[in-house]
Symmetry: C2
Subunit: 143 residues, 2 copies
Amino acid sequence: MGCEAETVRALKRAGQKVTPQRMLILSALRHAGRHVTAAEILEDVRRQYPYVDASTVYRTLTAAKELGLVSEAHLGGEAQFEWTRGDRHHHLICRGCGQVSRLDNSYLDGLATALLEDHGFAADIDHFAIFGLCSRCRGRQEQ
Amino acid sequence: MGCEAETVRALKRAGQKVTPQRMLILSALRHAGRHVTAAEILEDVRRQYPYVDASTVYRTLTAAKELGLVSEAHLGGEAQFEWTRGDRHHHLICRGCGQVSRLDNSYLDGLATALLEDHGFAADIDHFAIFGLCSRCRGRQEQ
DNA sequence: GGCGTGAACGCATATAGTTGCAGTTAGGCA
DNA sequence: TGCCTAACTGCAACTATATGCGTTCACGCC
């Protein structure tokens, strides 16, 4: 299907090398189609290639983040990684019950524009984690 | 001066105990008047009371965060803690040069209101870290 | 003032993630 | 096709932070 081609091109364009480890790591992430942790990626990759080290996974993810291929979010607990596709989104995390819900990009668009206009700052607002209390836990707390 | 009184009251109201360790930790933070790391607090506290353990510092900071006395921000590197006072603020962190600049609360107010109205979600937006590229690094990158 | 109990303590240990280093390899070029 | 070098890898050691556990101590109550 050649969906690897785009990854290869992005790496080469940035002067980086295409290695079997990197391709396995990035393809595990691409095909997961959801948030995954570094540990899950490592486990997945090791099924095909057992000698991969955790530090390689972290280094590859860091490099891929800088190229905009991958996004990282800290939702409490382990960091979550996701292949960057069209639908940028954010998360609301309830510190009462731990529930994580999705928030679409429109809520943060205005902020990004304002930061660029007022401060010349190009914010990487592509995967935010916002902590707080959901309506259910808020109700429960008031009692 | 009795500026400890407020801390003591907040701890008691939450059914928590007032111990010398906690008072030292929280007062180190209160009097720092700036962001400090857990390690800096530990060092400071140990000057007066050498047998304090790092885990006590982390546990105390976690408890104080939950009471709203303290806020934590991850600006890259170690977590930064700060005594919560009136002026809530956020940070813009340039991933090019590492520069950290302050951003006042007004930029995030609208977001908090929208989340509450649309989702019933009470966001803890009191100390955000927004990564991106500052204008200088952006200019340099375009060349 | 003494007592009981649950919260907090210090210690040891575990976990996520990072870094320095020495050896290996991708890929541009002759 | 073979060489060269910078980028990448695996390993081991390290840092920041969290957690389980047995002991201690703050503090409400008699």
